[in-house]
């Protein structure tokens, strides 16, 4: 632990100690405002996660597994469908003779005379954070009640000072390379990472009830009028709607997306999505129709799941790609989700049925035109040759090189992109995409790419290697552009539960089991090849939860135990298609970027998951007498080799102080020989000690 971390910890403890004092505030109430009874509670909390992996997120620039690795590259020959090297046999297009006088560009060494072969060492250094997360959180919940009408609010404010153990990549540091990055949202792709700022293309503040920036987020997760008349409760305003019997697994929980900007889903597991579920403005009606039947209806503005910004500690979207978020430009702000759930409780049995008509908050991603009119760099022979070709053959204006053509492809000449076929394959496999067809669709769906001699290479590894390296050499690295769009779907669900009676005190007594099943016809998925048509399939989820409280001794309170299982026919927990799982990496040079992924010259790509995605969760909570201490553990198991285990302890020395410590053990290669087989691999950089010190009133 370096001095900065020690300072942070000491500071944290000092602030907490000062804040606790001897006073025990209990919120406030007992006065009126606007004729209503006012009450409020609050929370002040320091939250920290100390990285114990010694790795940055793989998707971040500093975590790129190609950083610092010398990777030989050889451009393919377009005349042989890129399957043979250009260097030894190909004709030398105009300008190649200049190779001898053009110095190597950043990261390049061992250039051949023609510069069509070289060794690239990704010039972004590998830097690993000491701290993954540190924020100061304040929350204030306030209510004004006028009889059966109340205004219920909760304001949440977070501040992340940055530094203190972070390692922040700064795109500005590379702006002198090929003109820096042009495309994408400036707050994400042009500077240091924005920890909290949520922007989409065309709208810097897409959420009505949030203002956020690089270091802060202030929002109103709850801000609604509540009206109760008899058995009916109406809520109008910004709110969340949580449905379903399963915890962690979102089967019925379809109303709202998630906001994982703060701590991904790595906060205290037993809190589920309390801090993560994204609220949305709308109307909710809850009606107790009979003693047994509750009807719940909502209509809310559609708000997407908010992902971690690029280069923030928990980002999982490869930072060599620029995401264009079409939420605003496609009118997402004007879309509404609606849903109805009917629940009947009949003693030991209960049944639920739900229907949601919604825009899937995950969205779907595909290749997009970069729109960046910037020529290939003339500082290498291939780039120079392509630019001359574009001007001479394709008729682009003199001086613009291939810029106008590239603007109509998904690629942008910019620093800190993808530099080698090895890097391409590694990240396609990591994010569950098809390395071959992803490349082919970037060609087939974009005629401009074909004008640049790019071709569909099928599943030929040598051709893929040759084509990718040719353009990466020419572009001195290329950034990909993708767009995220949102699509309607209908989700139907049924659920049933039963409370088992057995011998008092036995493990089966009072075991509560629920099974949730949902069916979503024609869901729009991100295609593994990022094709423009996406991939539409019927999705089925089957989830089971069994839970109970069991007393193992008379000295300790009962232990809460929960077991869960989830099967999804076509997609994983993140909504990525199962087809994208299990890819191997390609290298003709023996370069193994991910030591847990098989790498060879003819890799298996996207063998997929034969039996769908399966996940198991086991968790327990064991309070100590008087609940002063509470230990817990939760485990998420992907049977294909990934585990996330979170042991934790909570300490409540007094009513207004809560201390939480937990450890996230994340292993994306626990068994099996290919980490790309399991979902947990996406975050297995995130081993960390979490610490939260809270003062509440």
């Amino acid at each position: 632990m370096n001095w900065r971390i020690r300072g942070a910890v000491v500071g944290t403890i000092t602030v907490l100690a000062a804040g606790s004092g001897n006073a025990l505030a209990g919120g406030g109430a007992g006065f009126q405002f606007l004729g209503g009874d006012v009450s409020y509670n609050g929370l002040l909390r320091l939250e920290t996660a100390i990285n114990t992996t010694g790795k940055a997120a793989y998707a971040n620039q500093y975590g790129d597994e190609a950083n610092g690795v010398a990777i030989p590259r050889s451009a393919g020959n377009p005349l042989t469908n890129w399957s043979t090297p250009l260097d030894p046999t190909g004709p030398l297009p105009l300008g190649f003779a200049l190779g001898a006088v053009l110095p190597p560009t950043a990261g390049v060494s061992n250039q051949s005379l023609t510069t069509a072969s070289d060794v690239i060492t990704r010039y972004v250094p590998k830097e690993d954070p000491d701290i993954n997360y540190h924020v100061l959180r304040a929350e204030l919940q306030g209510t004004i009640a006028w009889g059966n009408i109340s205004l219920i609010t909760r304001i949440r404010a977070l501040y992340d000072p940055g530094a203190l153990g972070y390692r922040d990549f700064d795109y500005d540091a590379y702006k002198d390379i090929n003109g820096g990055i042009t495309g994408g949202l400036p707050n994400q792709f042009h500077h240091k990472p924005s920890y909290f700022g949520y922007q989409v293309n065309g709208d810097k503040h897409p959420l009505l009830f949030e203002r956020s920036g690089s270091n802060y987020q202030v929002d109103l997760p709850a801000f609604f009028l509540q009206y109760q008349i008899g058995s009916l409760t109406a809520r109008l305003g910004n709110q969340t709607v949580a449905w379903g019997q399963l915890l962690f697994f979102r089967t019925f929980d379809t109303a709202n997306g998630l906001d994982v900007r703060r701590h991904l889903i790595l906060n205290r597991a037993v809190e589920e999505y309390a801090d993560v579920r994204e609220s949305a403005p709308g109307l909710r009606l809850t009606y107790q129709a009979t003693d047994q039947i509750v009807v719940d209806v909502f209509a809310q503005q559609f708000i997407p799941t908010i992902l971690n910004n690029v280069n923030t500690p928990y980002n999982i979207v490869p930072s060599q790609f620029t995401i264009e978020d079409r939420y605003f430009t496609e009118g997402g702000e004007h879309h509404f989700n609606t849903g109805i759930k009917i629940k009947g409780d009949y003693g030991k049995f209960d049944v639920e049925a739900m229907y949601t008509h919604r825009y899937n908050p995950l969205g779907a991603i595909r290749w997009a035109q970069s729109g960046v009119n910037k020529p290939l760099p003339n500082s290498n022979v291939l780039g120079l040759a392509f630019n001359n070709y574009c001007q001479a053959v394709l008729g682009t204006p003199i001086g613009s090189g291939c810029g106008p053509i590239l603007a109509k492809t998904p690629f942008e000449v910019a620093p800190a992109g993808v530099f080698s076929a090895e890097e391409w394959f590694n990240y396609a496999g990591y994010i569950k995409l098809d390395s071959y067809d992803g490349l082919n669709k970037a060609v087939d769906d974009f005629p401009a790419a074909q004008q640049l001699l790019a071709q569909d290479i099928g599943h030929d590894p040598r051709a893929a290697n040759g084509e990718l390296n040719a353009f990466f050499i020419a572009g001195e690295g290329l950034r990909g552009h993708i767009e995220r769009t949102y699509h309607q779907e209908d989700v139907f669900g049924i659920s049933g539960g039963y409370v088992l009676d057995a011998e008092p005190g036995s493990i089966l007594d009072q075991l509560i089991t629920h099974v949730d099943v949902t069916y979503t016809p024609n869901r729009t998925f991100t295609a593994v090849d990022l094709r423009k048509e996406f991939d539409k399939r019927d999705e089925i989820q089957v989830g089971l939860v069994s839970e109970k409280y069991q007393r193992f001794s008379s000295d300790f309170p009962a232990t809460y135990l929960v077991f869960q299982y989830l099967w999804q026919k076509n997609s994983d927990l993140l909504g990525l298609l199962n087809d994208g799982y299990g890819s191997e990496n390609l290298s003709f040079n023996g370069i193994k970027l991910d030591k847990h992924v098989p790498t060879n010259t003819n890799p298996k790509i996207n063998p997929g998951r034969e039996f769908g995605s399966n996940y198991v969760v086991f968790a327990f909570v064991q309070p100590f007498p008087a609940y002063i201490y509470e230990v817990s553990a939760a485990a998420l198991i992907d049977p294909y080799g990934g585990v996330l285990v979170q042991p934790g302890i909570q300490w409540k020395p007094q009513g207004n102080i809560t201390v939480n410590a937990f450890y996230n053990y994340v292993n994306g290669h626990a068994w099996g020989n290919n980490a790309n087989d399991n979902t947990v691999h996406l975050i297995d950089f995130a081993n960390e000690v979490g610490l939260r010190l809270g003062y509440q009133f």
Binding site: A242, D350, R551, Q654
Partner: protein, 460 residues
Amino acid sequence: MRLIKYDRGYSRRHFLKQAAGGTFCAGVLMPTWDAIAATGDISKAYPDELLSIEGYTRGKIKTGDEINASNVELVKDLLEPVRYEQILKMGRKLKIVKTTTDVMRLSPWEYIEATLKNSGKGRFDAQGNNVVSDDGQPWIGGNPFPNPKNGIELFAAQTLSWGRHDASFYALKICDVAVDGEPRFFYEGGWAELATVGRVSMNPKPYWPENKDKLRFQSVFFTSPQQFRGTSFLNIWPYDHSKFPLLYGYVADFRRVRQFPTDQRFEPLLPGTTLFLSDAWAAGDPLHTWSNYKIVGRGPFLAGLSDSWNADHPNWEHDTHGGPKGKTFWNSNVELIPEAIMVEAEPTAFPRAPISKKRVWFDARNQVVVGMVTYDRNGAPYRSFDGAYTLYEKGDKKVMDGKHPYWSWAHVTASDIQTGRVTRLQQVQNIEGSYVSGANDPTIYDKYLTQAALQRLGAV
């Protein structure tokens, strides 16, 4: 000069004689319930020594005096051991008020009326399971066993009607005080209970037809501190006295209502406290999940039955004293109860319950619970509960419940004997202005006692 017809030892000998003979009938000079039925007053059932503290102590302690360490030995036999120790060593004090003889001031008016009206109609069904009225239907209201013959009849009546109103809502404040005398945990919230049978005030009576198969709806929720705001639980009790209630809960972290196992009733409801669901009204579990009910003793007792409403505080909040910081105990008024009945029971349906038995003191006049001590698995005293009931009437101030002043509990002291922690509960006029204590308001069902209500009360 007044001749004392019954000397100081008469009542003691009477209680011992009945205990030795295995018989039981409340009252010393005549059956208490006969006296109540005849005059509404219990005075004729007990000798003078049991009707005033002056009589009991031969004038050494008078009404208005304070019981403290200097004089507690005089009333040691009137206290459970825990209160005696707290007075002796922790500075706890009790103020003596006049013994109530008018039974109509010891329970809700309608409850007593129904008890009188329905006297003799209550019995256990042929299976010995449920209390039924003479037509075999669920109980119709009031106390089915006003002249109890055994322990289970006392507990059956207590379990059938906790607060003795058809519906009650209690705005609560809870404080847990550490051994050093410093309050460590504060909680606020509400407790609601509504009877579906045996209704004496609210229409429809005596049953809510759609829920005649149930005994009650009951919920508890918390509004403070922030971590627990919106945490709530709903129990739906079947009328079958051997079946556990259904339990639904809104856990703040989950943001939704879920069903919970119901047999774990010895879990602390809140951090820092040792209050269990099982402790509610000393009869928080279905009647037949406990057994071996037996009367183990009788005699006079000191407990709070009157003058315990703090009318001077706008929110009815009580002051404290005692302990290292003067914050450990409620300022309490107690009166001499002529006869309390000690009943013990064992939690036979809970294999690993932390307690082995409970001893509960019932006031023989009206069969309300006036004290409880639970024992750990080794038979050692574990926790002690004492509290105060009151009529919410003081001078010209009163809180009405229909045509009569509101009767309810005022405060409870729960002492963890083994750790020294004390949890204080009090019923206050309101929490947050919106949640107001009261009785027999039919709207509390929709407000607090449905799953939709839990959702509405839940954290946001």
